[in-house]
Amino acid sequence: MIVTVVDAAALLVAAAGLIAAAVALATTRAVPLAIAVLLDFFTAAVLLRLAVRVSWAALGAAALTIVVRQLAGRALAAARGARHRLGFDLVRHPIPWITQYASPSLIEAISFGGHPRGEDPRWRESGAPDQPTYAAWCSRWCGMACFRMALLARDGVAPSLYELAIGCAEYGAYVDGPDRPRGLIYRPFAEYARDKHAMEAEVITELDAARLRSELDAGRLVIASVSSQIRLPATGPAKTGGHLVLVTGHAGDLVTFHDPAGHTPQAGIATLPMPVFDRFAAHRGVSLPV
């Protein structure tokens, strides 16, 4: 009787392990994590069976569990280590490039050619209810585009830019100006990220190169305030700040970032020497654990 009950429990635990591993994989896309989760539950199942059936086969299964656990543990640690060393995460989604304007191909015309920013045939993709609303918001969405990239990197799904902006506005991260919304205001934004998206965003007011590297080394993404002229790094910045980019990694003296207002693919996902990036930076931003 006891043997039957424990055997059934072991089977249940093994089945739960399969489901939990599938859930972990679907949620994080982290294969080493899913394997580790599966092994955790399988270990529990093996131990349950071993409690009532002492046989050489059961002992062999237990010994095999130890070996496989160690191998999977090393793979998970290696993935984590690689993430920290390279400044990007092997066990999260790829970080997409999201632009603040619905049509990336129009950014050059909007930024340098006087094209009206609201006249974008793809404006509906932003989630805005109408074109005037899109026109009022889109030039202010660099922070939302950065945040959306971070959410997509973490979860694989994210609300639209408009939904994120409205959510932030409810927390006071955007306030109505005379003619258009003003923001992004970091602290209410961080509260919004924590409350609504369970992302422990941290406002950093002294974001120098060393701090930026340490955040990236810890596996975080950083929304950094820079001049929008960073798209043309050969020019000198007229001012620092005013625009937000998502810094995704560094290697040696190079820093890689996603610019929501990048007018070319190269400017959209750009890599610059740290001193050059530093010239355009306002040295403040928000760190995002993903």
């Binding site: 489901i19 529990a44 131990l47 010994a63």
Partner: protein
């Protein structure tokens, strides 16, 4: 053989066997409960994804249950040595104790490493909250 107090060897075997069953059942129950709790938490995380860290925490907790369950099972192994009647059973007992001890050791090490990772993540540097208001109000 009759013990001095009249307690028979078979009686001793019976008592030890019952004790072994109780302790083993307790260990199995702990492992099962830990697995159920972990499973429920995994599903809860899936409903509201929060990155990798919550999964690590759930694994950490499950690991603690496994270690505790293993401690009970090791205790049962030790009890069983009191009544193991032949060499084959003794050999199996030694093997199972060795494997459980090894699992216990590796699980303990994993928990320690995982705990250090979680603590390192929590111990990240904090920034002053006394920044001037305009420092956090930058467009866009």
């Amino acid at each position: 053989m009759i013990l001095a107090d009249g307690f028979g060897e078979h009686n001793l075997e019976d008592v030890v066997s019952i004790l072994v069953r109780i302790v083993e059942a307790a260990g199995a129950a702990i492992i099962f409960v830990g697995a159920v709790i972990a499973f429920v938490r995994f599903l809860a995380i899936a409903v509201r994804p929060r990155g990798l860290d919550p999964f690590a925490r759930v694994r950490l907790n499950l690991g603690r249950y496994l270690v505790l369950g293993l401690e009970f099972q090791l205790a049962a192994d030790i009890l069983r040595t009191a009544v193991a009647p032949n060499f084959t059973e003794l050999a199996q007992l030694a093997a199972i104790a060795a494997i459980r001890t090894a699992l216990n050791f590796f699980l303990g090490r994993e928990i320690k490493e995982e705990t250090e990772l979680v603590r390192a993540d929590q111990a990240r540097p904090t920034v002053s909250t006394a920044a001037p208001p305009d420092a956090s109000a930058k467009p866009p």
